[in-house]
Amino acid sequence: MAKITYLEAIYQAQAEEMERDSKVFIMGEDIRCNVFGTTTGFVERFGEERVRDTPISENGFIGAAGGAAMVGMRPIVDATISSFLFPAMDQICSIIAKSRYIYGGQAQLPLVIRSCLFYGNSNAAQHSDRPYSMFMNMPGLKIIAPSNAHDMKGLLKAAIRDNDPVMSFEDSTCWMVKSEVPDDLDFVIPLGKGEVKREGTDVTVVAIAGAVNIALKAAEKLKAEGISVEVVDPRTLVPLDRDIILRSVRKTGRAICVDPAHKTCSAASEIAATIAEEAFEALRAPVVRVTTPDTHLPFSPHIEKPLYPSIERIMDAARRLVGAPAPQPQPA
């Protein structure tokens, strides 16, 4: 066990899998110069053939990853910021997601498309997207959205070893956060397995990516108010671990879905719908979503920051669900 950051976890997962399997290679814009620290020493270690800087042409190189995967390679594409996936929608949605299906199982596309969720720091609307739920609506793409270094490493290794296309959405609010990670070279977390991050009895909070860390802080504060919160992290959005969510909600009878994405058709929406459909009889209160509202993200920090799910908003929702009074405003 060693305590490492989320970015180091990405680095380790990539390095170990490239070491283990010569079919694994990595490409992306400006990855050789190692901007974020996820490819440290890669060129020296694996050579320029396997560590490729690409032209700025996402539809080209992401699609090319699909082609290379079809003939037996296992590409990792670092698409850097998730907003840059949009120019590649064509190849991701029409080729990568659908080839296995259209050709009746003849095609196999073992590739990983990594990108970060780059929100909260005045990068304005074109750089701040959290678009995983758009891809959840496209069958054929597995999706991971880890919330800490441990899960990041285990899930990314599983993604690289998986024989289907996997999109890895990496929350930049988690980048520098450290957690204990096993040293075992075969440490993998199976895709589709969520985890209860904190046990509780009054309210289930199902949180996505960086929102898990906010939810855990809210849970700690709510404990002081006598509200016991269970925090569930699905970790993988496709396939979604519906069982772990339903089990928790059947226990607590209340659910809050926290998601940094926009509200409409968010991962939170899918989870809320699942709860309403399958655990309706257990519910003691309506299911609530705490998300980013359906507006774009502005540059000006004063109006950007309040838009995201926050500890306070989760606490308000939890109090409302258990029927607890809101705390009196403190005199300034």
Binding site: E29, D30, R32, C33, V35, D53, T54, P55, I56, S57, E58, N59, G60, S83, F84, F86, P87, N121, S122, N123, A124, A125, Q126, H127, K263, V290, P293, D294, T295, H296, P298, F299, S300, P301, H302, I303, E304, P306, L307, S310, E312, R313, D316, A317
Partner: protein
């Protein structure tokens, strides 16, 4: 080549290049001090490219730019106050604090956006040129894009549309030698971006991007062609980015070669000043312009600093024509 245009025009070119340089020098300092949020991509070294191109346009001609957005609006004649206010995220900013450094876009000056998704301006430019043509306006649309952006499909789709429909468009590739850490030659196949024009059957022109007159002359010819209904032109300005991809990042990603010093020695503003002086413009007059510009920049910064930040509700404006409803749970903690 000698300076083109009468003295007023030549001095205006000098003034606009100075404006860009001084505006950004100030912006870089206050960004380092934390007064400007987000990333700041400066245009320093490329002033002749933007100013030369825009001086060949009319005020009502259209223009689309990039994430490196400070130079283009100033080159086209925008005033500094609302640009500086935008950098600071103030409500008086040209985009009301919504856009920031990557989107300094003044629609009153014919801008149709400075877009931070690399290459995304290509189709917009073709569309604006189409719209102008369909409405019988004799306007042209000019697209600034980078050498790196020349690898994006959207740029090529835009150029092909403009060529096949003979639209009044001008595509100006500002080849500043790098896309982030990647030298042009490592990301762009072929010797010159301009060569790609041949594939579309349109003129592909290479011009010294440090010579504001040469850029203006090349773009003017393309504009004349476009207005005459003869279709688009691709122009590649060979220029240089002085600073790193974005400033104050703590680490220079740009692999500078031995030619770095040669480029610095061909500073577009220094070169133009020398040409003007040689042609009889007095150095004192140019000094006076430098001082006036410094005052404009100081005034813009004061204005920006004294301006208010947008109110929380404004985060819900401009998604659509009407303000969106504001969710209670979000408002409660704004």
């Amino acid at each position: 080549m000698t300076a083109i245009g009468d003295n007023d025009r030549r001095i205006e070119k000098y003034r606009r290049m100075q404006r860009i340089r001084q505006f950004e020098t100030r912006a870089e300092t206050i960004h380092a001090a934390g007064e400007i949020p987000g990333a700041l991509h400066t245009y320093a070294g490329m002033e002749a490219s933007g100013v030369g191109a825009c001086m060949a346009l009319r005020d009502d001609d259209y223009m689309v730019g990039t994430h490196r957005s400070h130079g283009h609006p100033i080159a086209k004649g925008a005033k500094l106050r609302s640009l500086m206010a935008e950098l600071l995220g103030k409500v008086t900013g040209i985009c009301k604090g919504k856009g920031g450094s990557m989107h300094l876009s003044d629609f009153s000056m014919g801008s149709l956006g400075e877009t931070s998704i690399v290459g995304s301006g290509g189709p917009v430019t073709a569309g604006a040129a189409l719209g102008a043509k369909l409405q019988g306006l004799d306007r042209v649309a000019l697209c600034f894009f980078g050498d790196g952006a020349s690898s994006e499909g959207a740029i090529h789709e835009g150029m092909n549309l403009a060529a096949v429909w003979k639209l009044p468009a001008i595509f100006v590739c500002e080849n500043n030698r790098f896309g982030m850490s990647t030298p042009t030659a490592a990301g762009v196949a072929g010797a010159h971006v301009a060569d790609r024009a041949h594939g579309y059957g349109i003129p592909g022109i290479i011009v010294d991007g440090q010579d504001v007159d040469a850029v203006e002359a090349a773009v003017r010819e393309a504009v004349d062609r476009a207005r005459a209904g003869k279709g688009p032109t691709l122009i590649e300005t060979k220029t240089y980015r002085y600073a790193d991809h974005a400033v104050n990042m703590g680490r220079d990603l740009t692999p500078r070669g031995p030619e770095h010093d040669e480029w610095l020695a061909r500073d577009p503003i220094v070169l133009y000043r020398a040409r003007l002086v040689e042609d009889g413009v007095s150095g004192a007059d140019l000094d006076a312009i430098d001082v006036q510009v410094a005052e404009e920049v100081a005034d813009a910064l004061n204005f920006a600093r004294e301006s208010a930040y947008p109110a929380f509700e404004e985060a819900f404006d401009h998604v659509f024509v009407d303000r969106l409803p504001i969710p209670d749970d979000v408002r409660a903690h704004a």
